[in-house]
Amino acid sequence: MSKAILQLDALSCPACMTKIQSALEKQTGVATVKVLFNAAKVKADFDAEQISADQLANTVTDLGYEVKSVKTK
């Protein structure tokens, strides 16, 4: 299980949180997703064989949010 931390541009509406959360959770290979609203960060545990951190970042970008950096552990 890998862990990705995405740093986003500031989030302003609590609805964004739900959006990002459910969009990422729907991806295959993603186990848990935690969106930190105030820190504008997304922490996700995922299976590196099924999905990559970059794909996760792309999903968030497609929703209309800018991903500033991606870190994987």
């Binding site: 609203f37 105030n38 960060k41």
Partner: protein, 636 residues
């Protein structure tokens, strides 16, 4: 999707353009040009409605009925019945309101941002050739040695292997006083070398460092919701669809389309949704700035209701070290003390350290003396020869076994010392007791005043729970004026006292140093750890006082009360706004645009109200003059 991102990035320009078009429209009205008026408002409506409708649609795809959806329907409705000015002004106010919210929210989140920006980015790693090479901090590994020069930031947690310096550890402890660090001392990532050059061997890097953990903790805490927030979140998920249904019902029953879309705008739950979280974000941020980590809104809430505080003694109310606090001399005090210090200087015993420190503090010089044939007698003390004088330092048994008798005065002095809870050390030179030193715990600076201040802030009872003996405990208690003392306790017995108080209906906070006290920290309603960055303390407790000071404890308690009342104020403001709008609607004062204005204004009011927490600061307790002296000389 591309389009949505484009619009998101240019939302400010969209808002500005709408404002200009509305201005042109109003000018058209002034010059009685109906065409300009109508055209300007129509284009303003369309331009500003697009981003709102897009957001509403994308939320709807994830089955969320958002505020944007209410506004979108209202605006489209107004547009259809030809109320172009209303639709333009409503959308503009909504966008402009969101813009102001972003700006002000950023202010309340500033404290975390400040924190993350303080994170080190580069490091000077010393490579195999002994050369320093600048690297990105992410590439530093555990075991690497880094060079840190004057003015630079320490990039890792580790130990000093070479050099020394004055460090500013404010980013970890909140305390800006410089600390001196030498070879072997631990240093923390994120702190600054104010003066000096050091080499540090890394034992923790990146997110594992204390600084990394603090950042993570504060980020998590700001998103950990209080019960009020959880309730409101739940409420909002039903409230927004309910507004939609109510508006529909109103429209069908009264067949008044205008009224129905007005209900949609007025029903937006803005201030209510944002009011509680924004107070907590500001409150937790304020704490982080002052060396107080409060783990979330729920902790904030519980902490504000605490009425009983229980303290561990050693390391919490008192410092880890002990000090000489009473001197009875029967000869030449400074000469005798010099002999004793010379002998004790070679020992690691805590009492020995206290004696050496005391000798140094009182200006007794003993460095040139060379003690010979020094011999430790287990459980009794130490004997040695200094400048041809035979020196015995230890307890009464040591004297007895060397056939040294105590005079009547000496016996009374010894007894009174023990009754005051002090450990006593007898010093005999050439067969006569010349000096008796009383050694006791050093109470942390300002504890007495802090306990009084806690009482003023609403704490009903303060309790000391300690494993130490009754006499010592009582002696400390008398100095600091604590309400209750329970001594000679095992860790599990401390837990029992916490539970008893809870069963009696009290909300209990336990303050400890986080290692042997962890059962009590977990049992108490609020566990408060004194910890200059120890991992256990940071993880097991609800509140961490980074520099272990009582000022931080008071600040934390006061802050929790302030934050909770701030949350209540915000909820009140939000509900009052809704009620006023409804009354206005019934009486016919309020229509879409004015309703949106009041609504956006109320959101800004709650944010501004929360921002007052950012600068909250507890007035420092004044140390009384006696205690300042005591701390200077280590006497009491």
């Amino acid at each position: 999707m591309k389009m949505q991102r484009f619009i998101n990035q240019h939302i400010n320009q969209v808002t500005l353009l709408t404002a200009i078009l509305i201005g042109i429209g109003l000018l058209g009205k002034v010059f009685a040009s109906n065409t300009i008026y109508t055209l300007a408002f129509i284009s303003a409506s369309i331009i500003s409605a697009v981003p709102i409708i897009l957001r509403a649609a994308s939320a709807l795809r994830f089955k969320t009925i958002s505020i944007e959806l209410l506004v979108s329907i209202a605006v489209i409705g107004a547009f259809m019945i030809g109320e172009y000015n209303e639709s333009a002004i409503v959308t503009f106010l909504f966008l402009f309101g969101t813009f102001l919210e972003d700006k002000t929210l950023a202010k309340t989140r500033h404290s975390i941002k400040d924190l993350t920006q303080m994170a080190p980015t580069t490091a000077l790693v010393i490579n195999d050739d002994g050369q320093a090479e600048e690297t990105d901090v992410d590439f530093v590994d555990v075991g690497d040695t880094v060079l840190v020069k004057t003015g630079a930031q320490i990039p890792v947690d580790g130990k000093i292997t070479e050099g020394s310096g004055h460090l500013n550890e404010a980013s970890i402890t909140g305390e800006s006083k410089l600390v001196t660090k030498n070879v072997g001392d631990p240093v923390y990532s994120g702190t600054f070398v104010d003066n000096g050059t050091i080499k540090v061997q890394a034992n923790k890097v990146g997110d594992d460092t204390t600084f990394g953990k603090i950042v993570e903790l504060v980020e998590d805490a700001q998103d950990t919701k209080s019960p009020a927030e959880k309730f409101i979140d739940k409420f909002a998920t039903y409230y927004t669809p309910a507004v939609l249904i109510i508006a529909l019902a109103v429209g069908l029953l009264t067949t008044d389309f205008r009224l129905a879309i007005t209900v949609l705008v007025l029903g937006c739950p803005g201030a209510l949704v944002i009011g509680a979280p924004v107070s907590n974000v500001a409150g937790i941020g304020n704490g982080a700035k002052h060396g107080v980590l409060i783990k979330g809104g729920e902790v904030m809430n519980t902490f504000s209701n605490v009425d009983t505080v229980m303290f561990d003694k050693t390391g919490t109310l008192t410092e880890e070290k002990t000090a000489v606090t009473q001197v009875q001399s029967y000869g030449d005090q400074s000469a005798d003390l010099a002999y004793a210090a010379a002998v004790e200087n070679q020992s690691d015993h805590p009492l020995a350290k206290a004696i050496v420190n005391f000798a140094r503090a009182t200006g007794v010089s003993f460095d040139k003396m060379q003690p010979a044939s020094s011999d430790v007698i287990k459980g009794r003390g130490i004997s040695a020869v200094v400048n041809q004088h035979r020196v015995l330092i230890g307890n009464r048994e040591l004297m007895k076994s060397n056939q040294i008798e105590l005079s009547q005065t000496q016996q009374t002095d010894l007894k009174s010392m023990q009754q005051h809870g002090r450990s006593s050390v007898l010093i005999a030179i050439d067969g006569h007791v010349q000096l008796i030193l009383g050694i006791s715990d050093v109470v942390r600076a300002g504890v007495r005043e802090s306990l009084q201040q806690l009482k003023k802030l609403g704490i009903k009872k303060t309790v000391m729970l300690t494993g130490d003996n009754q006499l010592t405990a009582q002696a400390v208690a008398d100095q600091i004026g604590i309400d209750e003392v329970h001594a000679e306790l095992l860790p599990e017995q401390k837990v029992t006292y916490v539970k008893q108080a809870q069963q009696a209906g009290h909300k209990v906070a336990f303050v400890g140093d986080g290692i042997n006290d962890s059962p009590s920290l977990v049992t108490a309603d609020i566990g408060i750890a004194m910890g200059s960055g120890t991992d256990v303390a940071v993880e097991t407790s609800d509140v961490v006082l980074m520099s272990s000071s009582f000022d931080e404890l008071i600040h934390a308690y006061g802050l929790s009360k302030k934050t909770v009342s701030n949350t209540k104020e915000n909820i009140f403001i939000a509900i009052a706004t809704v009620v006023m709008l409804l009354i206005g609607l019934v009486l016919g004062f309020v229509y879409m645009a004015s309703g949106m204005f009041v609504h956006e204004a109320s959101i800004l009011v709650v944010i501004f109200n929360a921002m007052r927490l950012i600068n909250y600061r507890q007035k420092k307790s004044k140390l009384d003059a006696d205690q300042v002296k005591v701390n200077q000389y280590g006497l009491s």
